[in-house]
């Protein structure tokens, strides 16, 4: 019997929560969460996109390509000697050499 009497007193002590504070509290919690999430997104930590690793900026690599241009022209003229025979001339070759690829060394030979 004692137990029943105590249970009845507890039931009498409970109150139905009021609706206004509950709504205000819920909105406050929502606002706090919204502000926190907005701050993270603004900082680049979008939870939808996952973790973002900002890479350290690297210096731009400039690769200089040195081109060697060879222009080869065949001269169609012919040297004519006294005997009337025709001797074809050898081609004319010109090259602009760079410091990377120096010109071949001069050669001295019997002439």
């Amino acid at each position: 019997m004692t137990t029943d009497a105590a249970g009845g007193a507890a039931k009498r002590g409970r109150r139905k929560p009021r609706s206004f504070p509950t709504i205000v509290a819920s909105l406050a919690v929502f606002a706090v969460v919204l502000v926190l999430l907005g701050a993270r997104v603004a900082a680049g930590h979008d939870p939808v996109l996952g973790a973002v690793h900002i890479r350290a900026s690297r210096p731009e690599i400039v690769r200089r390509i040195v081109r060697k241009v060879i222009v080869e022209t065949t001269v169609a003229s012919h040297a004519r000697d006294k005997g009337g025979t025709t001797v074809s001339s050898s081609p004319v070759t010109s090259v602009r050499s760079s410091g990377v690829e120096p010109a071949r060394a001069p050669v001295t030979r019997s002439s």
Partner: protein, 324 residues
């Protein structure tokens, strides 16, 4: 350092110009200067060739007058030929036109393959040093620059072929003096220079006449280096004997001195070319004396290579330009 490099046929051989950038304002870019030099060299060939009927040299040799007016280029060429004969005691003699024609060299050999040296050597005569012609007709040549005339004894014809490549290289070198560095390669006779060549000399390679290999490299920043050898113009005569273009003035026959090739250094290309011919005609012992001052390289009949004078050292060879 970048360089313009052009190779072209000239004087029956292959010429090459290597030219760095201009250092003085107003100088043409390297490719334009090289093109101008090339045109001048080709004109030089046309005017001084003994194989062209319309050349100034042929006109001089066919003129019966004892004194002939001539343009500066021909005067320079004849003066150079006269100087070479005087310098070598008559061994480099430009008055042997009749003898060279009699030996079979009447037409240009441009483009023709020379007789291989290995094939020629076994049938060559006994080796001996060459000597000057006793008549020394070259002494009769007189050049008057002021009057613009050339005088020579009756019947004497001048062949400037022995000196014209070196002379032409030196004259082109004057045009290139204001450039970083240059090499004027007149078929193996080179004039080298340039304002910055001293710190970056050319390593001139010497080609062996029997193997074609490069047997030595000579650093040259200023001056001349030239090679004279038997193998470039060699042929078999109708009687089966072998001939080449370097004559012994004392006999008028091709010289067989025991040397196949000589490379010489000089204060310019003309001197180097003259020294190389002089040394080759002098034979092995005489060549050592001729090459003692500026240095050089000889190749004997058996292919042995020997260095002489300053070329014995592997150090850079810096020849100062001295007024000749």
């Amino acid at each position: 350092m970048s360089e313009y490099d052009v190779t072209f046929p000239c004087m029956g051989c292959e010429f090459r110009l290597l030219l760095g950038d201009p250092l003085e304002p107003g100088l043409a870019p390297a490719h334009e200067a090289a093109a101008r030099a090339r045109r001048w060299l080709e004109a030089c060939d046309a005017r001084l060739s003994r194989f062209r009927d319309d050349s100034e040299l042929v006109a001089l040799n066919s003129d019966p007058a004892p004194v002939v007016s001539a343009r500066p280029l021909l005067i320079n060429a004849v003066a150079a030929a006269r100087w070479a004969a005087e310098y070598t005691g008559g061994l480099v003699d430009s008055t042997l036109m009749g003898a060279i024609e009699a030996a079979g060299y009447r037409e240009s050999l441009a483009g023709a393959d020379p007789l291989p040296l290995r094939e020629a050597l076994p049938s060559a005569p006994i080796r001996c040093a060459a000597g000057p012609h006793p008549a020394a007709a070259w002494r009769g040549i007189r050049v008057d620059r002021a009057a613009g005339t050339i005088a020579r004894p009756a019947g004497v014809r001048v062949d400037s072929g022995g000196v014209v490549k070196g002379l032409a290289a030196d004259l082109v070198a004057r045009l290139f003096a204001g450039y970083e560095r240059f090499a004027v390669d007149a078929a193996g006779d080179l004039a080298i220079g340039g304002a910055r060549a001293a710190g970056n000399p050319y390593e001139v390679e010497v080609e062996h006449p029997l193997t074609g290999e490069h047997v030595h490299a000579v650093p040259v920043s200023s001056g001349g280096i030239a090679t004279s050898g038997l193998n470039s113009r060699m042929w078999r005569r109708a009687d089966g004997t072998v001939a080449h273009h370097l004559l012994d003035p004392s006999t008028g026959e091709p010289a067989w001195t025991g040397l196949l090739m000589v490379t010489a250094l000089g204060i310019n290309a003309l001197e180097a070319e003259t020294l190389a011919k002089w040394a080759l005609l002098s034979g092995p012992d005489g060549a050592a004396r001729v090459l003692a001052r500026h240095g050089g390289l000889t190749v004997r009949d058996d292919g042995d290579v020997e260095l002489h004078g300053p070329m014995r050292s592997r150090r850079s060879v810096y020849l100062s330009r001295v007024a000749a």
